[in-house]
């Protein structure tokens, strides 16, 4: 009897999911935008502009709440446990969803706990060197590193360290990893000539003439550096940690709500304020549909799994 009931309920749900996204009267009340970082940073600044545009597009107040901690982990853990009624969503970099749960076994969420309404911008994830470095591409860097014997690398996150570990393993380079706190710590080390090479989330764009962008750490070439090869093009198979900024709802959110948000994001991507802020914080607008974003999250998470296996990473 119980099994029968279960089957019936499941069938009902399947029917519901198969129906085309119905029109929705969402939103009927204020909506919360979660930001997984402290107020004042790049994602936060952009999120606040987006909130303003969404308020106008959706006809309800969109309030920004900063819940910082553990590279968005605190915010994502919270979002996972929220009711999937469209009243709350997260705006942030996708790497917090694809990478963090794989390197940290304490985290309860995975990329499958959320549904994605689309992507808006992209961190310019890349490998950089000080402007006076004697190399311009990955081949040149490897030759330089071999000649020097051992290089110093500024590592601003676990992801940054993993990328360098893969490169070092493939080319047999010796590396001293210097941890830094965030992009600005990296900039200080690089500008004072204390490191040879570094990973950057795109902060080099704010220091014109001070950095060389050696390679893109994303699947495709970057908007700000179209002439720079990706690591994959340079011969490092599958080596990319994409970091578009996306809008994520808790799993189970009505597809009609997701579709409405997707449409609003499309409008936001051409809004003059959004264009202005993207220029000034050096993060180009790269609009992606909900379907494209979901696919990207899936692919990226799978690529990271392979990468971690390659270097024998054990989640702590």
């Amino acid at each position: 009897m119980k099994g029968l009931l279960k089957g019936f309920v499941a069938a009902l749900f399947a029917l519901g999911a198969a129906l085309p996204a119905a029109a929705t009267d969402w939103p009927t009340g204020p909506i919360t935008m979660l930001i997984g970082y402290k107020a004042g940073g790049g994602t936060d600044t952009k999120g606040r502009v987006l909130a303003k545009i969404l308020t106008r597009e959706l006809g309800q107040q969109v309030n920004v709440i900063n819940r910082a901690g553990g590279g968005q982990a605190v915010a994502l853990e919270g979002l996972k446990n929220e009711a999937p009624d469209g009243s709350i969503f997260l705006f942030g970099a996708v790497s917090g969803i694809t990478l963090n749960p794989q390197i940290n076994s304490d985290l309860q969420f995975t990329a499958e706990d959320f549904v994605y309404a689309g992507g808006l911008t992209e961190f310019q994830v890349s490998m950089v060197a000080p402007a006076d470095a004697p190399f311009d591409d990955m081949a040149g860097f490897v030759a330089y590193a071999k000649e020097k014997g051992k290089i110093k690398y500024a590592s601003l996150s676990p992801g940054a360290k993993i990328i360098m570990q893969v490169i070092a393993r493939q080319d047999g380079i010796e590396v001293d990893y210097i941890p830094t706190k965030g992009g600005r710590g990296m900039v200080q080390l690089a500008l004072s000539g204390q490191v040879d090479f570094a990973y950057s989330g795109g902060i080099q764009g704010r220091y014109p003439g001070k950095f060389k962008t050696i390679a893109a750490a994303s699947t495709r070439r970057l908007g700000n550096y179209p002439d720079t090869e990706t690591l994959i093009e340079a011969g490092y198979e599958g080596l990319a940690i994409d970091a578009p900024t996306v809008v994520a709802f808790p799993k189970g959110t009505d597809p009609a709500i997701v579709a409405k948000m997707e449409a609003a994001l499309r409008v936001a991507s051409t809004d003059p304020d959004m264009i202005k802020i993207s220029k000034s914080i050096n993060m180009p607008i790269v609009y992606q549909t909900a379907a494209e974003t979901s696919q990207l999250v899936e692919d990226s998470a799978a690529a990271i799994t392979i990468m971690l296996d390659t270097i024998g990473y054990k989640a702590s």
Partner: protein, 503 residues
């Protein structure tokens, strides 16, 4: 020189002045609330500036930063709850004064010292930003490790009657600062599976718990006596308790001058932070006065002056590396980078070439903000100072409520209140058993920077001979070792003297 007039006109345009005044007032009010400091005030105001002109936007934010830095002395002195950790020494020397009926005197001295420190540092910024920046860049992780080690030893000299207990408290502070994701591989340390602990224990709830909540617990135990004292407080209308006398100035002049120098120096070096500045300055004055623990027991006007002048001097000085090389020297400076970039301006060497007028305008606005600070602070204090005349039975619940509010806002919601409660209990026993909560907080605040710069040093300096390239680090390292030796000798002598005195 011809181009200077339009700059002056822009800086002193009524619209711009109004924004500065608004910023200073807002900052002072926010700073006066326990637990809300300059970081919060400035960060929250950034979206407000999106539609302002670059000059007005930056002047407004700088006004908030200056106002809140000075404002946090108000709650430190009146309620023993610093608005932010860097006002902790102000609470230690100033709250006893308030309890002795000299709240207005302490508040005024705090304000004057703040304005002097702020003005001094602003002038240094204007005169030497470009030249100093090059040197600041040379201060890397290796040098910072040396300086931080020296600072810790120096501040450990504050540790109450027993050095052993002070060290225990300091090391406990460092241990507590280790909670959270480890910086290089993001492995969780001492988090017990709690995601909220991933970014470490939140600073403000810990500080509020240790200082204010524990103090409230102790006071509640002595309520009857305090009620009687409150009557005395109310009665103390003597003029010399309300104003800063010539004698006070004489006692504090040296402390203020030293505070200005220490604060400016700390601000220019990226990564040290305002807390190091105010604690160093306070510690130096306490040492120079030769009064020891009496400083915290009866209060000390020169202690307030030392802490506040240094605390406020850090803010403008931390713009030196920001304006000149684009590297923030403080939280405020880091937030300002965001504000600059919103306006399409890149802080760095090019700033002086491409946006010279803007920078000059900002300098003028900063000077104006210093003067507004004096006005707002002077008249605002009369309002705040009434707090001490209210019966403790009414003040205590309000303070506990404000503590909870600060912890909630800065500690990630209800979790922050929990952290505050736990450290309130720890602070209660620390005070009862004379474990220095000062060294605890210092360990807690400096711990993460010390760990990071030490680990960076271990990566950067792999051969012993490479250390020779860092003379600054070597000097400070040697001073730290010398400090430990000297403190030990002093303690032993005191101990022997005590034993001898015993019949």
């Amino acid at each position: 020189m011809e181009s200077f007039l339009p700059v002056l006109e822009a800086a002193f345009a009524p619209g711009n002045l109004a924004w500065i005044l608004f910023g200073v007032t807002l900052g002072y009010l926010v700073g006066a609330l326990p637990g809300l400091g300059k970081g919060t005030a400035t960060a929250v105001a950034i979206p407000l500036t999106f539609y302002l002109s670059p000059l007005a936007a930056i002047a407004f934010l700088v006004g908030i930063a200056k106002g809140s830095t000075a404002g946090s002395a108000v709650s430190a002195i009146l309620l023993n709850t610093p608005g932010e950790p860097s006002s902790t020494p102000t609470a230690m020397a100033g709250y006893p004064l308030a309890r002795a009926g000299k709240a207005q005197k302490a508040l005024k001295m705090g304000l004057f010292a703040s304005v002097i420190g702020d003005l001094f540092s602003t002038i240094v910024l204007i005169l030497v930003a470009q030249e100093l920046a090059e040197y600041a860049l040379g201060i890397g992780p290796v040098e910072l490790t040396g300086i931080l080690a020296f600072s810790m030893v120096f501040i450990a000299g504050l540790s109450g009657r027993s050095m052993i207990r002070g060290l225990i408290a300091g090391l406990f502070g460092i241990l507590v600062s280790c909670v959270g994701l480890e910086v290089e591989t993001a492995s969780p340390r001492l988090t017990f599976g709690l995601i909220e602990l991933y970014d470490g224990l939140p600073l403000i709830p810990v500080a509020i718990g240790m200082l204010a909540l524990s103090e409230m617990m102790i006071q509640m135990g002595q309520r009857r006596r305090l009620e009687q004292e409150a009557d005395l407080l109310r009665g103390s209308g003597r003029r010399e308790d309300r104003v800063v006398t010539l004698g006070d100035w004489r006692r504090s002049a040296r402390a203020i001058l030293r505070g200005c120098l220490i604060g400016t120096g700390v601000g220019i070096l990226p990564g040290l932070g305002a807390s190091v500045g105010s604690f160093l300055s306070y510690g130096a004055e306490r040492r120079a006065s030769g009064r020891g623990v009496d400083f915290e027991e009866t209060g000390a006007i020169e202690g307030v002056a030392a802490a506040e002048s240094a605390d406020n001097a850090v803010v403008p000085a931390s713009f030196v590396p920001l304006f000149a090389i684009g590297i923030p020297g403080s939280v405020i400076a880091a937030i300002l980078i965001g504000a600059f970039t919103i306006q399409g301006i890149t802080p760095g060497p090019l700033l002086f070439l491409e946006n010279r007028d803007l920078i000059l305008g900002v300098y003028m606005s900063m000077m104006a903000a210093s003067l507004f600070l004096l006005l707002i602070g002077y008249f605002g204090q009369n309002v705040f100072a009434r707090i001490v005349r209210i019966s403790p039975a009414l003040v205590m619940p309000v303070v506990v409520f404000l503590c909870c509010l600060g912890a909630y806002l800065q500690g990630g919601g209800v979790f922050g209140i929990g952290v505050m409660a736990v450290f309130g209990v720890i602070g209660f026993f620390a005070k009862k058993y004379d474990f220095s909560f000062v060294t605890f907080l210092i360990g807690f605040v400096i711990g993460p920077s010390f760990e990071l710069s030490l680990r960076q040093t271990l990566g950067l300096v792999t051969e012993f001979s490479e250390l020779m390239d860092h003379p600054v680090a070597l000097v400070f390292g040697a001073l730290a070792v010398f400090g430990v030796w000297r403190l030990t000798v002093l303690q032993r002598r005191q101990h022997e003297a005590m034993v001898k005195d015993r019949p």
